[in-house]
């Protein structure tokens, strides 16, 4: 369990001070107001890459620093506190995990060094409808000569506009709902037939809908086994879920700190409002939830690093508990701040919007409760 190592403590301090000084929430606000096309700032991304974080999971032979998932979580939590927008999660965590778990030697050699130095953004294109449902994949992969033709549409692809390559979940056989028949492809973003449209979302981050019209790829685009990708896709998604949970924990922790600060300073009825028992108890309840969520997030990240048997259970637990807490906390952030919390000038709204988007990504609480129940034999 996670009593952090000295190295992780140092990195946490580094990430915290960098985010505070170079990528604070005010910078996110500037990017939102400028309606930056890609949903993140290229300068911020360059700094993140230069610090080595884009390669935080990539092996040293491919140019990364291979520091593991718990360490990655430490960084993501600090970025989550400031709502720092970047492709770190989509590419450095999810893209890198997809290549590490399912990529061929050639695919890894071609893309991992570029993920690690931030020169390429590789994202996972999985969901097709409004809700996370990997097995419902319909996008078809039809064998054609020595390759495949992809036909279909992916929705809400993280960093979909900026991506240089997509890891695409496609159906090479069977029908929507089947675990059998899923295949992963690594597709260069420039391939003919790919069309992307930017989505403008409440959380102002980078998403695109991506359509694949007669997209021809070679056999060398297949990641892993044709038709047998369900299991590895789940493992890639679990890494995504655990990492996103760490970011969500940071977003919620910052919301908590803002609220606590307000409770200690805001005076009404002649007293600091934190002296009202009804508010003190709400703060105590939220803090208790935060402690529980943190334990789950750290346990999931540690399980991935240790390749533990119960990794899937812990990843669903982490995403659900981080989601429950962030949901509750972001609502209380607004409510306890009262009218000021409703103003766009104040940051609370930015946290609320990001909270709901992160909850919906890679499976919301309901998805993970259902998965957890199934994994527990229920």
């Amino acid at each position: 369990m996670a009593a952090l190592t000295e190295e992780q403590e140092l990195l946490k301090e580094q990430a915290k001070s960098w985010a505070n000084e170079e990528a604070p929430v005010s910078k996110f606000r500037e990017m939102r107001d400028a309606r930056t096309e890609e949903g993140f700032d290229r300068g911020t991304w360059k700094s993140i890459s230069e610090m080595g974080w884009a390669g935080i999971l990539v092996s040293e032979e491919h140019g990364g620093v291979a520091m593991g998932h718990l360490t990655a979580g430490v960084v993501l939590e600090e970025l989550g506190r400031q709502l720092t927008a970047s492709p770190l999660l989509a590419s450095g965590i999810v893209g890198a995990s997809a290549l590490a778990l399912a990529g061929s030697d050639a695919q890894q050699a071609a893309w991992l060094p570029r993920i690690a130095d931030g020169s390429a953004i590789v994202t996972l294109a999985v969901d097709e409808g409004p809700r996370h449902a990997p097995l419902q994949t319909k996008l078809s992969a039809t064998a054609d000569g020595d390759g495949f033709v992809l036909e279909g549409r992916k929705a809400h692809v993280l960093e979909g506009l900026a991506a240089d390559a997509f890891v695409v979940a496609a159906r090479s056989s069977g029908s929507a709902g089947d675990a059998e028949g899923l295949t992963l492809f690594l597709v260069d973003g420039d391939t003919a037939g790919i069309d992307r449209s930017r989505l403008s979302t409440a959380d102002s981050r980078g998403y695109a809908n991506v359509t694949f019209t007669g997209v021809r790829v070679g056999a060398d685009a297949v990641m892993g086994e044709v038709g047998g990708a369900a299991e590895v896709l789940d493992r890639i998604l679990d890494r995504a879920r655990a990492a996103l949970s760490a970011e969500m924990l940071g977003t919620a922790a910052q919301s908590f700190d803002m609220t606590l600060d307000y409770l200690k300073n805001r005076v009404q009825f002649g007293q600091v409002i934190g002296s009202f028992q009804a508010l003190g108890h709400r703060a105590a309840t939220l803090f208790t939830e935060m402690e529980m969520a943190r334990s789950c997030v750290e346990a999931a990240l540690t399980a991935i690093d240790e390749d533990a048997d119960n990794t899937a259970v812990l990843c669903s637990l982490a995403k659900a508990k981080a989601g429950d807490f962030l949901h509750h906390m972001s609502n209380e952030l607004i409510q306890i701040h009262g009218g000021i919390g409703m103003t766009d000038e104040f940051d609370a709204g930015l946290y609320l919007k990001r909270a709901r988007a992160a909850e919906a990504t890679y499976g919301n609480q309901a998805f993970h409760r259902d998965r957890y129940a199934t994994l527990q034999g229920l």
């Binding site: 606590l260 002296s275 105590a284 529980m292 969520a293 334990s295 750290e298 637990l317 229920l378």
Partner: protein
């Protein structure tokens, strides 16, 4: 030798000693033989208690000079692990009442040399049962408003008053009480922690029947009861500090959800639900709403266990009482009570039996358990009091202006 090598050789030592001393006849029977309300007089259990007491391994981390094991936290964990492997158990924490979990650590911290010599060794041997006198009928959570008083009679203290919720007082040898020793001081400044011998005519106890039936709780009455002059623990009129410290130990001892131990843990909620509610064609629980709520509960329970582990890990093996105990107590109570609610719901009408052959033992136990567990969020500082502690001591919010 490195630390690890030392621990490995200690593990060998522990294994060998357990093999020589734990009677295999009582393997796996801890829950059956040792309960809060009754401890069996099984001769093997008695033999085991004596062996553990002599070795000091019933209180492994306590100082050896007072009868403890003098071991590190890690060594204590090893003993625990090795005991589990062979179905062995440590009966002393239950047999000593509040002696091992609360009173002992507090005496070790605040006691005089003479108090330690007198009280700690019998606790380590499991020879004595301790009760605690904190609550009073009209004080409730407002502990400092207690009225039970001790007067200085020169060579002894004369005690008059009433305590309530005194667990196990009807078979305790000793009781540690918070009593008022100065009526003129501000209410928290006139309290002392006084130790009384229960075997005297001035003390009477009466068991309290609760909503779930019989209970370990008693009312305890003091009518000109006496305590030795040197039985004040800590400073005279400094009992509030000692008492608060003891309560931290109490919370710490209540931080594990009950679900994690005992014989009941063998049947899971999942098993019970599939048996009583049934599954649909996909093998999923036939009631999807209940399925989601059980999953939610299992997640909370796992989160609570992981948090307990994390708090211990972050203390780096130094298992000391911390403010986190309030968080853990509230979470453990909530999880445990929710489990009881769900169990009852799963059992349906079979979950409402009071007695008789129309109900299976585990069904009757579920009903009694559900009722008695309502006390978890009341005793040891209520849910609300813990939240006050979290708000003030952890979050640094000001003292509340509205007393609840």
């Amino acid at each position: 030798m490195s630390d690890d090598a030392n621990l490995e050789s200690f593990r060998e030592e522990a294994r060998a000693w357990l093999a020589d001393n734990f009677p295999s006849a009582i393997s796996g029977r801890g829950a059956e033989l040792v309960g809060m309300e009754s401890v069996s007089r099984d001769p093997d259990l008695e033999k085991w208690r004596v062996a553990l007491g002599e070795k000091g391994w019933g209180t492994p981390t306590w100082p050896a000079e007072y009868g403890g094991g003098g071991l590190s936290q890690k060594q204590a964990q090893i003993i625990d692990q090795e005991m589990r492997k062979i179905g062995a158990f440590n009966p002393l924490p239950v047999m000593a009442g509040m002696g091992i979990t609360m009173v002992g650590p507090t005496i070790l911290e605040y006691g005089t040399e003479a108090q330690k010599q007198k009280h700690i060794p019998p606790i380590c041997r499991g020879d004595v049962f301790w009760a605690l006198g904190y609550s009073e009928p009209n004080a409730g959570s407002d502990l400092a408003s207690l009225q039970c008083k001790a007067e200085d009679k020169g060579d002894h203290w004369l005690v008059n008053g009433q305590k309530t919720w005194t667990s196990g007082a009807d078979h305790a040898q000793w009781i540690g009480c918070l009593v008022r020793t100065d009526f003129d001081a501000p209410k928290r400044d006139g309290i002392s922690f006084l130790i009384l011998d229960m075997d005297q005519p001035g003390i009477e106890t009466r068991p309290i029947e609760l909503i779930g039936g019989s209970s370990p709780f008693c009312e305890t009455f003091f009518n000109d009861a006496k305590a030795d002059k040197d039985e004040v623990l800590g400073e005279l009129n400094g009992g509030w500090t000692v008492g608060k410290r003891l309560l931290q130990h109490e919370r710490q001892s209540q931080t594990g959800a009950r679900a994690s131990g005992g014989a009941a843990a063998k049947v899971t909620l999942q098993d019970l639900a599939l048996k009583y509610v049934g599954a649909d064609d996909d093998g999923k629980l036939a009631d999807p709403d209940l399925r989601a709520r059980i999953a939610d509960h299992l997640m909370k329970a796992q989160a609570q266990r992981l948090t307990t582990q994390r708090v211990i890990a972050e203390a780096k093996g130094n298992h000391k009482v911390s403010a986190a105990a309030s968080i853990l107590k509230n979470a453990a109570s909530a999880v445990s009570q929710e489990k009881d609610e769900l169990t009852l719901e799963i059992l349906g009408h079979q979950g409402l039996g009071w007695e008789g052959h129309d109900f299976q033992d585990h069904e009757l136990a579920a009903v009694r358990g559900w009722l008695s567990a309502k006390a978890m969020s009341i005793y040891g500082g209520s849910f609300e009091i813990q939240n006050n502690i979290i708000a003030k001591n952890i979050l640094g919010l000001p003292e509340t202006t509205q007393k609840g």
